[in-house]
């Protein structure tokens, strides 16, 4: 059995540092397993957030060698032997302790999205939808709320625009509602104003880190941006609105 060195962030938002831990690793072990071993053998107070340990709940998000990852799905053997592995909390959110961050921003952002409202039922037993229509919504509904896309998004990570931009995860959520074949709600004003969709300049970093392989930029954000532009920034439509005396928007 091999030993590997982990450099783990220990501390709070105010102060903290990387601590070294030597951990014995077995075949197949993931980074989260190494954190458990540290808890069991050295530091029972090492703060880690986790639940399913199968890549399905999105609790154990952190950064491994500076890259946003689910620690339960990151195999230790993917990193070259002989080099230490750095484990730090998500940078886009305030640290509570060690690897645990305050992700409450995301729950506030989600609450701002106008809720789903269905059209009247198509039959007594519910609605009729075709699988091909449902497929597009289902891609968005795979989101496990790990917030890794939020963590990597430079609008949040580097520019701290949490109040102005809900972030890629909630573009995905908005798309999930809007792609639901029976939804009736218009969310374009929300996207333009509260949602801050204009902040995204489609660098696609979010798509790259999504553990569910949701094509966030291409299938969620860009189509939503197009619809916002269509309504609020189309010069011909703006002219028509001016002539008709409509309220000037955007």
């Amino acid at each position: 059995m091999a030993r590997r060195t982990f450099e783990v962030y220990r501390g709070t938002a105010a102060e903290g540092k990387l601590e070294n831990y030597d951990v014995e690793v077995e075949p197949g072990m993931v980074v989260l397993d190494a954190m458990f071993r540290i808890q069991a053998e050295e530091s029972p107070d090492l703060a880690v957030r986790w639940n399913c340990k199968a890549g399905k709940c999105g609790s154990c998000s952190c950064e491994v060698n500076g890259k946003p990852r689910l620690s339960c799905m990151t195999r230790i053997s993917d990193y070259p032997e002989g080099e230490s592995i750095t484990v730090t909390p998500m940078k886009a959110f305030p640290v509570i302790r060690d690897l645990v961050t305050d992700v409450s921003h995301n729950y506030r952002a989600n609450k701002k999205i106008p809720q789903f409202k269905p059209r009247p039922k198509d039959a007594e037993d519910g609605w009729r939808m075709q699988q091909y229509e449902v497929d597009r919504a289902q891609e968005m509904r795979k989101c496990i709320e790990c917030f890794l896309c939020q963590d990597v998004c430079h609008v949040l990570r580097s520019h701290d625009r949490h109040e102005e931009f809900v972030g890629p995860a909630f573009m995905v959520r908005t798309a999930a509602f809007s792609l639901n074949p029976i939804d009736t709600v218009d969310r374009l004003e929300f996207l333009k104003d509260t949602g801050g969709i204009g902040y995204c300049n489609i660098t696609k970093c979010c798509t790259e880190v999504c553990p569910e392989h949701i094509t966030i930029t291409d299938n969620a954000i860009i189509p939503l941006k197009e619809r916002v532009v269509d309504r609020y920034y189309d010069p011909i439509k703006a002219l028509v609105r001016m002539v008709r005396g409509g309220r000037k928007k955007g």
């Binding site: 709070t12 077995e26 075949p27 197949g28 072990m29 993931v30 397993d33 808890q39 069991a40 029972p44 107070d45 090492l46 703060a47 880690v48 957030r49 986790w50 639940n51 399913c52 340990k53 199968a54 890549g55 399905k56 709940c57 999105g58 609790s59 799905m73 195999r75 509570i96 302790r97 060690d98 645990v100 305050d102 992700v103 729950y107 989600n110 609450k111 809720q115 789903f116 269905p118 039922k121 037993d125 519910g126 609605w127 009729r128 939808m129 075709q130 699988q131 449902v134 919504a137 289902q138 509904r141 795979k142 989101c143 496990i144 709320e145 509602f177 639901n180 029976i182 939804d183």
Partner: protein, 599 residues
Amino acid sequence: MEIRERHDHDVLVIGAGGAGLRAAIAAQDQGLSVGLVCKSLLGKAHTVMAEGGIAAALGVVRDEDNWRVHFRDTMRGGKGLNDFRMAQIHAKEAPDRVREMEGWGAVFDRTDDGRMNQRPFGGHTYARLAHVGDRTGLELIRTLQDHAVHEGVDVYMECTIIKLFVVDGRIAGALGYWRPTGEFVLFRAKSIVLATGGIGKAWKVTSNSWEYSGDGMAMAYELGAELLGLEFVQFHPTGMVWPPSVRGTLVTEGVRGEGGILTNSEGERFMFRYVPEMFMGDYAESEEEADRWVEGDRVNNRRPPELLTRDVVAKAITSEVEAGRGTPHGGAFLNIAAKRSPEYIKKKLPSMYHQFKELAEVDITQDPMEVGPTTHYVMGGVKVDPETAETAVSGLYAAGEVAAGLHGGNRLGGNSLSDLVVFGKRAGDSAAASAAEQAGLADIPDADLEEAIGESLAPFQRDGGHNPFVVQEELQQVMQDKVGIARTATALEEAIQDIRALKGSLKACSVSGGRAYNPGWNTWLDLHSLLLVSEAVAMSALGREESRGAHTRIDFPETDPEQSNHNTLVKEEDGRMVAVNDPIPTVPDDLQTLIKEGV
């Protein structure tokens, strides 16, 4: 006084999986003030792990299906120990509970004519599980979570309840602590719904997370509620067995529902040899017949024996391994690649594809998986009234895995998600109705709160004691070795002694560091419930001297018809835990005929 924060609600729901969320929505619908407390972040509860689907006799895929068939399947799957009234309510109400979620935004897989599709599953006569690929639980929890939040339910996340209080004979409140700060918080409420899930964390090989420490069962027991049928712990037949770090991680029954076959090291499809007498004639008798069923002719052929109930399949895999016909890492082969195209597998079982690819470096569209039993679910729990979900404690309700009754000796796959929404709603409705009748909130004496807080902070006062994680590992080893899938009186008696000794170790634990997000301290607090319920499980298992459903006694290998008329009930008597027999309510003649002779 340590408590700086207090919240008052008409109804407090503890636990935010499917049952808790559905209960909160129901109570909120009555126009009351509702608080929802959860140990983790919202949306992370174990419901998210449910993969295969939600069972409801919608009659979409097969017209012949109706509540009577679903009821019969559930009772037969539970080996006659189910509460018949709960099974009846469940089968009748599940279709409405599933359909209403579509109106709240759930997007289920469709049939060609645009209706909700249904998938076959173990023990269900017809294709009955509404599903979303292999992530049905995620769809359910997200739908309920969004609906609850937008309806105005107040959510308290990463808050663990450690004690419940009764004042003047009725539930009055709950004491908890915030995980991020370690500060205490008091909730007062007129009614409380427990939706805290099971106790899977007591075993070493498990599909359950750290949260499943039996908190609800332990807290209810301490107030005088009774624990029913705890010897029935479901070992899901298909958990991952390799690599070691993911041993126990769930492999959905949906793999078998979609045609996956089980083989041993000799390449034999062994399940044909394990069809119990009760189900003779209900399953395919040749591989050819099973193949024709998988290919789509479900009217003229019977389903493959891989779709027998979970207790039967788990025991069959264990027997094959014991007979020396196991896989290299001690399991069975589960092969879907042999029956379905790579495209089909990726479409229908996407998360299984990724799980094996990323964690085990196995491509399930090409190669078989290695699987073996893993602790998954507990059929037993707090005894409740079948209509209202009320426990023996006035004003305290329980729904979902924490409650007992619906599943009897073995739960059918897909019946858990439907249980959550059917009885979650009922518990929320009853809790709200009874809260509305109360004059006001009761005051909880300061002395009681101070005592509870003092006990919970005790390990900080000690130095150099045991590490709580080590005590937890020792308990998991005891439960795995002595209260596992095959049991004996000797091992169970030893386990009870071991658990009592571990309770002593718990008292000698110390915790270092501060109270803010300290997993060592949090685990120490959880261990109190984990040990209490583990002892109740071992005592219940010792009491049932027969093999039935998920409970297997090597020293009593046969099912004893004499023991079909009672459940095991654990309660406190004169300060001691005792296990007694609790007679099963008599099933009315018409339902009895339905169970025996079919629809």
